[in-house]
Assembly symmetry: C2
Homo-oligomer: 364 residues x 2
């Protein structure tokens, strides 16, 4: 029960100057009419006393908490640090705090996580869904960061263009038989990247898609991807849809004695933390998370403060549920942010040098 009555409040400042609290409030917020001289004095004593406004008091009065929620259904996603950092930065610049919620990969717990945020009184939330999960009605403005092709998406990287860029990079290097590596065929993001990839190539280049999830269903998690066979079949480039899978491909090839990039090219996506430290460093596509976060937060703040552009919840059960006000997906003018190609050492022309594509001596 030790209430930490820490800083002074408005009335303390008011008392110490012999003015009213309203005047102090007005002076500090610059809203009412206060003489410049008095504003100066109030500012000074506020600073001297180390005044910090009570968010609770302000929130109660204004009905806004100044806090945004951040929901990542799959928080173990290695992209999380990038996203959290970018959102937190954009939010703090806009004067908002960021409350995190985790649904531990469980789709059912996502609603629960969202409810926790709502109960904490967030003014809006940023949701990065995975696998096209439905966003439950939140009763507050919601910004969705997924992929442009998903209905309801607010802003995201241009995954399609990203796919195109990396495809062109591989094509220009001279690759003619490319294996695309993805995790799940139900992911919108991955499908867009793959779609863009294929759209950049004509019939002279052959592609094939390997879905890791399907493979692991048969061979168990962590199984080999069978890339050595693919090399023997003539594939010279392996374009993973995420750096995590690129890493898997890279090490599997290396373990089999296939040199990268000399005998096989590997590329990834997202420029994750390890892409620069592995040997060879990964060629990858980087998303501009700072810009994406800025846009998402700006759209959210606009909706919160000015009742900006919102779109009624998606089709389906959205308007059927009447107990809650419908979720309000915010929209942004610029909804797709270009990705940037980062060329490092893991990609190169096929069949460089003299080596056979397969040394064979170290097959597991």
């Amino acid at each position: 029960m030790v209430s930490t009555r820490t800083g002074p409040n408005l009335s303390r400042i008011a008392a110490s100057l012999g003015v009213s609290v309203a005047t102090v409030s007005n002076a500090l917020s610059g809203k009412g009419r206060v003489s410049v001289e008095l504003v100066e004095r109030i500012r000074a004593t506020a600073a001297a006393l180390g005044y910090v406004p009570s968010q609770a008091g302000r929130a109660l009065r204004t009905g806004r908490s100044g806090v945004l929620g951040l929901v990542l259904p799959d928080i173990s996603n290695p992209l999380f640090p990038q996203i959290a950092q970018a959102i937190e930065y954009s939010a703090s610049v806009a004067g908002y705090g960021v409350l995190i919620a985790d649904s531990r990969g469980d789709v059912g717990m996502q609603t629960e996580a969202i409810n926790r945020l709502v109960e904490r009184g967030v003014d809006g939330m940023v949701i990065v869904p995975r696998r096209g999960t439905r966003i439950a009605d939140a009763g507050c403005p919601v910004a969705v960061i997924d992929t442009p092709s998903t209905p309801g998406n607010t802003v995201s990287a241009d995954h399609w263009q990203g796919g195109r860029e990396i495809a062109k990079h591989l094509r220009d290097l001279g690759h003619r038989k490319i294996l695309l590596i993805g995790a799940s065929s139900t992911s919108n993001v991955q499908n867009d990247r793959i779609g863009g990839f294929k759209s950049a190539l004509d019939a002279t280049i052959k592609t094939e898609v390997l879905w890791i999830e399907n493979l692991e269903e048969r061979n168990g998690p962590g199984c080999l991807l069978g890339l050595v066979d693919k090399v023997q079949q003539g594939f010279t480039a392996f374009a993973a849809v995420s750096d995590l899978h690129a890493l898997r491909a890279l090490t599997e090839l290396q373990r089999a004695g296939i040199a990268v990039p000399d005998s096989a090219t590997v590329t990834g996506f997202d420029d994750l933390i390890w892409s620069t430290v592995v040997t060879p460093a990964l060629t990858t596509m980087r998303m501009d998370m700072a810009t994406i976060a800025d846009i998402a937060v700006a759209a959210l703040v606009d909706a919160i403060e000015n009742g900006g552009p919102i779109e009624k919840g998606g089709p389906g059960e959205a308007s059927a549920d009447e107990s809650l006000p419908d979720s309000r997906l915010v929209t942004a003018e610029k909804s797709r942010v270009p990705m940037q190609l980062v060329v490092r050492q893991s990609s190169g022309p096929p069949w460089v040098g003299k080596n056979e594509p397969l040394s064979g001596e170290l097959l597991t």
Copy 2:
């Protein structure tokens, strides 16, 4: 100005039942004296109306926000997902929300980040410092997750024991010349891991420490670690102090045609996301973040709600600053949580099979 007057409040419930707000409050919190029958009716209508208590109102009255802050000076740390997930879970079980703050690696911005949290009215905060940065006075209970040897540490993994375990694992496999790989000699965590490692070995086993930071100062970031030379010098095992460096070592060795674990063993620390997907999967030490988070949050909540055990801010400038109440580092009974050895495929006995330690054909 569209105030989202969403849910009903206490008075709405009170009015709809013809009782007073105090009674409703008492009934829902179970504190005052209300007849069981009335409690039942109040609970029912509260649920029917979809009542959610206003955190702002509650916070203003009780002086507690029900929110904890989470500070990671280096949010790009790949451990972040694990930590954030664990802390958020423990906090939500304890009825608290988690507000994140990032100082983007900049030590100076750490104070700023902490201040942002304080201004938002967090009841306490969890800080995971890096490189022994000083914790600025926060004016609220603070739990520090670092390493047991750091003064002021609240709880953490037992890095020393972790080092011992992995050393014993390598010793038992038969390795006699081991290279330890760390990033920075100023990191308490890394020093503890290395210290524990060495403490488990007698003079028959030779170890050497490679600090990546020193190497990169000379050769530039992302440079090779020169592990091929080390193999030639007779090192058979490479024990990295983090999975990130283990990954770096693994790929560097593989790129040079040195098979892992056949010709060289590589181990890591922390069981990061990629440790299972690389080939060979990484042998590593896993921290029990769930337990660590539970302990940290419990200590924090205890200090917040019962004024639990706290320790005055560290020596030095802590008590010199008089404008803020001193920071209160909370303590926990169990401050070191054992790490767990996870044996996978990247470690094995030295010189297994017939292969020469170095094939040499693929040296970069």
